[in-house]
């Protein structure tokens, strides 16, 4: 993860300068140098270290003796003011413009003298506010108004505040040549940053569409490292803070840390270190802490001391740990990674390689890093992110495939379920139909049976009535034949009882729903009928005192009917021999809810003293038996006619 391109600067082609430097001997006292094509000034400079920064250009122009050749100048304080002096001579060709350029110094003042008179003073430098630049000048170059066939003295004051040893790689070259090189560089930058932008947008869109979180981390990483590259190449300062370059430069390393944090999150999330590799994760957790510490320390040092050299050293000191963590992670995780996740590993390896390459390149070429290093770094970046993006895409594709497979499986299951369900519904429907048919059959059978039962009941009723009628008719037919009085009486009694049964039967049939028989009506009918048999002249008065509401339950009705028939029969037969005003009185009172009191009395002879009690022996035991059957009580008294008193449960 060692990413050290922070000291790469846009400039001309310093390699050439280095090569040229090898071919140029060092001069003791400077003769005017002819200016034609490209000229590296480092070999021809004489220099002076001004620790306090008190010297002025006008003072120094008259004291060329204070300067010593640059090569023999002892290594001094890196933040001292350095004065450089060179004498140049233009040729006889009129050049449209000469450009003085350098790769990376924070403050540069260029004084151009013709003999001892100041022609122009130009300011440049990485931390110089843009407003100090002359028209057509830039941060790392200025144009010198040189005329043909003149000798000039160039006095340059350099103040490098970044605590790196300043590199005085000044180059004088024709404007066309300089701008052509700068243009080439810019074109390459535009292409590379365009690519990074497209990658950024692509990742952003991918995240929006898929909401796959690793895309977010990749986005953070691309953004951070992209901004870092922008900043390194000076565009950040140019675009956002041309007046405060030193402040803007403070942000430079933090972009990198942001990018690395994004990368860390990407690895942790995408490989699911937390759950799949807890051991690795325990180590990896130090990475963000380290990043924050690095970020804080770098900012503190840069802000308060401006000592970029020290902060750079500290930063580099953490690289071995970072490399170790990455190596360990790769070593542990690799065997258990699926192909999609391995893309990330490839990317990480490439990242390490590029980091190593850049670190070595920086160590070799110091702060004045090669222009190519930046470009190569950008290439690496793009390649790495492409690999990452491919890995993520592959993972997405696998997800998609797995999802598709799962969906198909689900679909298949659902179809299976549906088939089962349908079959079950069919079976149920069939079963229902069968049971329905059975129910229907049962219904028909029930209806049929109902009809049959009804017919049977009607038939039964008919038979019962008919049989009773037959008995009644038979006995009635026999009545005239029987001459014997006792037999006639018995026969009449039986006819009366059959009549009572017929009545009960008739009432039961008519009042089937209520199953109760109105006492009043029943007594009246029975009395009228019996009177017809025994009391043909209808002399007897029958008094009834029976409340209309009283009724008997059907199970008692027959017994009661027989009792009544016996009572009437007895009275008609025995009570009223030549009685002037025969009268029968019947009373019923509902004593309580379940108890009925029934009184029967006549005003006949009563029980005669002695003699004819046998006449009663026939009827009274029967009455007693029937009362017992009804679970009732009875009493008889014989004064002034017979009085029967019954209590019957209803």
């Amino acid at each position: 993860m060692a990413r050290e391109i922070s000291f790469l600067r846009p400039s001309g082609l310093p390699i050439l300068a280095v090569i040229l430097l090898l071919f140029h001997p060092t001069y003791g006292s400077p003769p005017p140098v002819p200016v034609g094509q490209r000229l590296a000034l480092q070999p021809v400079f004489t220099a002076l270290e001004d620790k306090k920064g008190a010297a002025t250009a006008d003072g120094l122009i008259h004291r060329p003796g204070d300067f010593t050749p640059l090569a023999s100048l002892p290594k001094g304080d890196p933040v001292s003011y350095y004065w450089l002096r060179a004498t140049i001579r233009t040729g006889d060709r009129n050049d449209p413009g000469k450009i003085l350029s350098f790769s990376h110094l924070t403050f540069v003042d260029v004084y151009l003298y013709n003999d001892t008179s100041l022609i122009t003073h130009r300011a440049a430098g990485a931390f110089q506010p843009e407003s100090k630049f002359a028209d057509g000048d830039g941060r790392f170059f200025c144009s010198l108004p040189l005329e043909k066939n003149h000798a000039y003295t160039l006095l340059i004051r350099v103040h490098h505040t970044k605590y790196y040893q300043p590199q005085f790689d000044f180059v004088l070259q024709p404007a066309r040549q300089y701008f052509a090189a700068a243009h080439t560089k810019e074109s390459i930058d535009i292409a590379l940053f365009g690519a990074i932008c497209i990658l950024f947008i692509y990742t952003l869109l991918s995240w929006i569409v898929s909401r796959f979180r690793p895309y977010l981390w990749l986005l953070l990483s691309i953004g951070g490292i992209g901004c870092y590259a922008l900043s390194n190449n000076g565009y950040w300062i140019e675009w956002f803070a041309p007046e405060h370059p030193a402040s803007a430069w403070l942000l430079n390393p933090h972009f990198l840390y942001l990018g690395l944090l994004g990368l860390y999150l990407l690895v942790v999330d995408f490989w699911q270190l937390r759950t799949d590799f807890p051991k690795v994760y325990a180590w990896m957790r130090w990475v963000p802490i380290l990043l924050v510490l690095r970020s804080l320390s770098a900012f503190g040092i840069d802000y308060f001391t401006g000592n970029y050299f020290v902060s750079g050293l500290i930063d580099r000191a953490t690289h071995p740990f970072m490399l170790l963590v990455v190596g360990y992670t790769l070593y542990i995780c690799w065997p258990r990674l699926n192909p999609a996740r391995r893309y990330l590993a490839y990317g990480l390896v490439l990242l390490c390689v590029s980091g190593l390459y850049l670190t070595i390149a920086i160590l070799v070429s110091k702060e004045q890093s090669l222009n190519t290093v930046s470009t190569v770094g950008n290439f690496f970046n793009i390649a790495i992110f492409l690999i990452f993006a491919t890995g993520l895409k592959e993972e997405m594709r696998r997800h998609e495939l797995a999802k598709q497979a799962a969906l198909e499986e689900l679909n298949r299951l659902q179809q299976h379920q549906n088939t089962i369900l349908e079959r079950r519904v069919e079976e149920r429907t069939e079963a229902l139909a069968v049971s329905n048919r059975r129910l229907q059959n049962q219904k028909y059978q029930l209806a049929e049976r109902n009809t049959k039962i009804e017919t049977l009941i009607n038939e039964l009723h008919h038979r019962v009535k008919n049989n009773l009628q037959l008995l009644y008719s038979l006995l009635s037919l026999q009545l005239p034949i029987v001459k014997d009085g006792v037999s006639r009486d018995i026969l009449k009694g039986n006819i009366g009882k059959i009549r009572a049964m017929m009545l009960v039967n008739e009432k039961l049939f008519n009042f089937e729903k209520g199953r109760n028989i109105g006492l009043c009506e029943f007594i009246t009918e029975l009395a009228v009928h019996l009177q017809k048999i025994y009391d043909i002249r209808e002399r007897t008065r029958i008094l009834q005192e029976i409340p209309a509401g009283i009724s008997l339950s059907d199970k008692h009705t027959l017994s009661f009917g027989l009792i009544l028939s016996e009572l009437f029969t007895n009275t008609f037969k025995h009570a009223f021999k030549d009685h002037p005003d025969p009268c029968i009185s019947v009373r019923a009172v509902q004593v309580s809810e379940h108890l009925l009191e029934f009184n029967y009395s006549d005003n006949g002879v009563g029980i005669p003293a002695g003699g004819s009690t046998e006449k009663f022996t026939m009827g009274i035991p029967l009455i007693k038996d029937l009362t017992r059957q009804m679970n009732g009580q009875m009493s008889i008294s014989g004064e002034k006619g017979l009085h029967y008193s019954f209590t019957i449960p209803v």
């Binding site: 199970k555 027989l562 029967l622 038996d625 029937l626 017992r628 059957q629 679970n631």
Partner: protein
């Protein structure tokens, strides 16, 4: 003389049967028209033979009544009923009746049905008495019953008689079977409480 109890809720029919029996056999008869009357009559005359209608007071209570009486008295029973359905006959058969006569019946049918039983009755000694536990139960069963009367649990009885708990349970089961009781604790206990006097 044979003692006969007629249980019939139509008293006229009961009187008819009574008259026929008296005419045909040398017997003592009694009529009961309800369950309550039947219970009283049982205790009073200890009949040898019951003529019982199945439908008493509009229910099938005749069979229940006989089942109940069987636990306390030794007697033979003849059902006289108008029911001819198979299920009712089967249910009645479970009380081991001596005969089953279907209404309407006339004198000769009644005579034949009762004669059959009365001729057999003479040989049987235990009939016409309260249930004799000494004949019905073994000595061990009687001891167990007496212990039950003293409100002893099965465990306690087992301890007293030095028998296993399961043996006692087995005996209890047999007792219940002989008394035609449902095989459960309460039924037997109830019977013992009601008929404790029989366990001399």
């Amino acid at each position: 003389m044979v003692r006969i109890l007629i249980i019939e809720d139509e008293i006229i029919i009961a009187r008819f049967i009574e008259q026929q029996l008296r005419n045909s056999f040398n017997c003592e008869t009694r009529v009961a028209v309800s369950r309550a009357e039947a219970e009283t009559a049982m205790a009073e005359i200890l009949p040898h033979l019951l003529l019982c209608d199945i439908q008493l007071e509009a229910e099938l209570s005749g069979i229940d009544l006989v089942t109940n009486l069987r636990r306390r008295y030794a007697f033979e029973v003849i059902y006289i009923t108008s029911y001819e359905t198979r299920s009712i006959i089967e249910k009645a058969a479970a009380t081991h009746p001596a005969n089953y006569l279907i209404k309407p019946i006339d004198e000769s049918q009644l005579f034949a049905g009762v004669q059959l039983v009365i001729s057999r009755l003479r040989a049987e000694d235990r009939i016409g008495k309260p249930l004799q536990t000494s004949i019905l139960f073994s000595e061990t069963e009687l001891r167990i019953l007496r212990l039950i009367r003293e409100k002893k649990t099965t465990m306690e009885i087992a301890e007293t008689l030095h028998l296993s708990r399961f043996t006692i349970k087995n005996h209890r089961h047999n007792i219940c079977r002989k008394l035609e009781l449902a095989d459960e604790n309460n039924a037997l206990l109830k019977w013992v409480v009601q008929n404790g006097h029989l366990l001399k």
